[in-house]
């Protein structure tokens, strides 16, 4: 079975950039270059369009051609921060619906956070997730396991056994690791297995019941505020521990100017820290919570315009390595309630590419930078062998930068609808997602 992706701008940062063709055979990249002609007899389909169920007929008997002219052809996007609610809260999202949502958003792989129920703190839960992912047979799922049993911050999980089960990073995401000694030991212990620690930075004493960004708007709305320092204090602590241990540390969902500055300084000094932000932190400010909009309630909270600009700078100068969505599905049971009681988080998989393309449209970063932040860098941090290279699995995303549309949350693949971006006008989106040569989404 042969697939030829023709005439797109192939961007694999540090490897390829140019108009070329990619030939895929049996799920693997066979060749890339210009003017490739498939060797199969008879072309089955022209234009952008490949039906699923490849492999019908004899090997090499058919050639499918995907016309990608005017499109970006990039190594499969990786969202290294999602919450699929299985096991535990399958009414919000299952691994199957989460994977579909990822595929529709242009992602070929996701990292699922461990705050499931039971918590992903042992090999059995990790294996269960991977089994469900195999059954879903859509995108690749890499489970992140807990740093500490039950996310309680009292001890270390069995990192060795978890790694063997298929876990690729550790995080107590949702909860900070309060105990600095535990954080130090987790970094050291994980380093021994060659896996990174992903840190959710939040000083709970300073959060003190806060539900939105601290400032004039919170004061006017009568809501308790969360100061920027609640995040940056722990970012600074973790950078100090990263320096102490030399272990690989990834800071999740950076939202404040102070955090960006601390990470920038740390990188200048050669400390092996990496960082991500989410599309909502560069697309929205605290103003989105006006009218007590629970679909704009998240943790860390949406911040001020000053912070949003600092996040943009961090993206632009490379301080922030990764765009990850923190896809956090919740139903109306958690969201159609009093603002203080509403659950934190929004879904992001199906809006991430379009929101991130706005960065390119607004000349904040280049399209190459974008591919780095959504594919190359997550792969590097997670130690995944990734990219458009001969012999590699064909994990490929095709992005149409010109297509315009209006976000319609009701049509999402995700089981949940908690997005503040419903109705937004977008330009550009993923139009085809291919995992190991299988087209898992096509517009």
């Amino acid at each position: 079975m042969l697939i030829l992706i023709k005439g797109g701008r192939v961007i694999d940062p540090g490897n390829l950039d140019g108009i070329m063709d990619i030939l895929i055979e049996d799920g693997k990249i066979k060749e890339q270059g210009s003017g490739i002609r498939g060797q199969g007899s008879g072309v089955e389909k022209q234009g952008l369009g490949v039906s699923q169920g490849l492999g019908i007929g004899g090997q090499n008997s058919k050639l499918k051609i995907i016309d990608a002219s005017g499109k970006f052809v990039v190594p499969g996007l990786i969202d290294m921060h999602v919450h699929f609610r299985e096991p535990g809260h399958e009414y919000k999202e299952t691994i199957k619906t989460g994977c579909l949502s990822a595929a529709f958003g242009g992602f070929t792989a996701v990292c699922t956070m461990p705050n499931t129920n039971p918590v992903t703190d042992n090999a059995q839960v990790a294996e269960y997730i991977l089994k469900k992912a195999r059954l879903a047979n859509t995108v690749r799922v890499y489970p992140v396991a807990a740093i500490s049993p039950g996310l309680k911050g009292k001890g270390l999980c069995e990192y060795g056994e978890l790694k063997e089960a298929g876990v690729i990073a550790f995080s107590d995401d949702g909860n900070p690791v309060v105990d600095s000694q535990l954080m130090r030991r987790a970094l050291e212990y994980a380093k021994g297995f060659g896996l990174p620690i992903i840190s959710h930075c939040e000083q709970l004493d300073l959060v003190a019941g806060g539900v939105m960004n601290e400032g004039a708007l919170a004061t006017r709305m009568g809501l308790a505020g969360i100061p920027n320092a609640a995040e940056s204090i722990m970012v600074m602590r973790d950078i100090a521990l990263c320096e102490l241990t030399g272990a690989s540390l990834h800071i999740a969902h950076v939202s404040t100017a102070e955090s960006v500055r601390a990470i920038r300084d740390a990188k200048k000094r050669g400390i092996p820290v990496t960082a991500e932000t989410a599309p909502h932190y560069f697309s929205l400010t605290e103003k989105a919570v006006e009218e007590y909009n629970t679909n704009a309630k998240m943790n860390p909270p949406l911040r001020s315009e000053h912070d949003r600009k600092a996040v943009l700078e961090g993206l632009s100068d490379g301080t922030i390595d990764v765009v990850a969505t923190d896809h956090a599905p919740h139903s109306s049971i958690e969201k159609e309630v009093e603002f203080d009681r509403a659950a934190n988080g929004i879904i992001g998989l199906e809006t991430s590419v379009s929101l991130s393309l706005k960065l390119v449209q607004n000349s904040i970063i280049s399209i190459v930078d974008l591919v780095e932040k959504m594919s190359t860098n997550p792969a590097k941090i997670l130690g995944l062998d990734h990219g458009i290279k001969k012999g590699k699995p064909a994990d490929i995303t095709i992005i149409d930068p010109d297509i315009t549309y209006k976000v319609d949350a009701a049509g999402f693949q995700s089981l949940s609808r908690n997005t503040p971006f419903d109705g937004w006008d977008m330009k550009g989106k993923a139009i085809l997602t291919m995992v190991g040569g299988n087209v898992v989404f096509e517009r």
Binding site: A216, T219, R220, G222, E338
Partner: protein, 312 residues
């Protein structure tokens, strides 16, 4: 002028004209409460649900009396008598209430923005009787009414609000209400209790109580809650009353025509001295009296009444 608002959610959403209409209507309503027969048939056949999701005595009784004096049927539900203790969401509880066709739901809730949530969900009118730290519009209106009654005006006056501004919905609604009506509002209290960006509501901050009250026409003291000590907002009640409390000595140094207000409940001897509560400048009980009149006015106006209530 016709009153067209469906809900009374906060002072921000009321215009100067609407506030004046409410206060003028309240002035007329006030007389009903001193008649021998304190009842007019104006809201006969209207149903007013008093949904108090947080303990309250004064405000709930004030609304109840207001509804009854206008002949509306009023009934009270509290959080522990409602299905919320059985795990029903607030939205569902209110949708069920709505199904029984009440006209007005008066809501008190410990979380900010809850009246706004319900106003989006139901067709009944929602009156906010206090939501978390956000707003207490009926308190601000009764305070405006009381000051206007005593001073003959609001515009140009200087109002000093002293105490825990951070946790006070009364402070927020009064800052918005008094500045909207042309008064100047200064606030003072421990800096731990002055929330970030409060100036954006129109108040100016003083670090020192004496400075804040020296030429104030009105001094409004806020209740200090003892449990705030645990979150490090103040040192001791002893020091609080000395540095931030309204002592007799401070009143003596204030303007000779100063008015002393307090939304209650009062902590005698903590934020305000006993002799000040009971003294000649105190209009604390006038506030309570006017509370009934303001709430009658709101129930009447929001029901879309066009006749003058007191002509019935």
């Amino acid at each position: 002028m016709r009153f067209t608002k469906k809900d009374i959610l906060d002072m921000e959403s009321l215009s100067v004209d609407e506030i004046n209409l409410i206060l003028n209507t309240a002035n007329r309503m006030k007389e009903i409460s001193i008649r021998p027969i304190k009842k007019v048939p104006t809201l006969r056949g209207k149903t007013v649900v008093l949904f108090f999701h947080e303990p309250s005595t004064r405000t709930r009784i004030s609304f109840d009396i207001a509804a009854k004096r206008l002949s509306a049927d009023s009934l009270s539900i509290s959080a522990n008598s409602s299905s919320i203790v059985k795990g029903e969401t607030l939205a569902d509880t209110v949708r069920n209430l709505e199904a029984m066709n009440p006209d007005i739901i008066v809501l008190r809730h410990s979380f900010a923005g809850t009246p706004h949530l319900l106003a989006r969900l139901v067709k009944s009118s929602i009156i906010n009787a206090g939501d978390g730290m956000h707003a207490h519009p009926t308190q601000a209106l009764l305070d405006l009414m009381t000051v206007r009654e005593k001073k003959g005006k609001i515009s140009g006056l200087r109002i000093a609000i002293i105490g825990d501004i951070s946790h006070s919905r009364v402070a927020r609604s009064n800052i918005t209400g008094f500045t909207k009506m042309g008064a100047e509002v200064v606030i003072a209290g421990p800096l731990t209790m002055i929330p970030k960006g409060i100036e954006s509501l129109g108040a100016s901050v003083r670090y020192n109580v004496d400075e804040a009250i020296c030429d104030a026409d009105v001094i409004m003291m806020l209740r200090i809650q003892k449990e705030r000590q645990k979150s490090f907002l103040f040192s001791t009640e002893r020091e609080y009353s000395k540095v931030y409390g309204l002592t007799q000595e401070r009143v003596e140094n204030a303007r000779s025509d100063v008015l002393i207000m307090h939304p209650g409940p009062v902590n005698r001897g903590v934020e305000i001295a006993c002799e000040v509560v009971d003294g000649p400048y105190s209009i604390i009980l006038d506030q309570v009296t006017n509370g009934v009149a303001v709430r009658m006015a709101l129930l009447y106006l929001i029901s879309g009444g066009t006749r003058n209530a007191d002509t019935d």
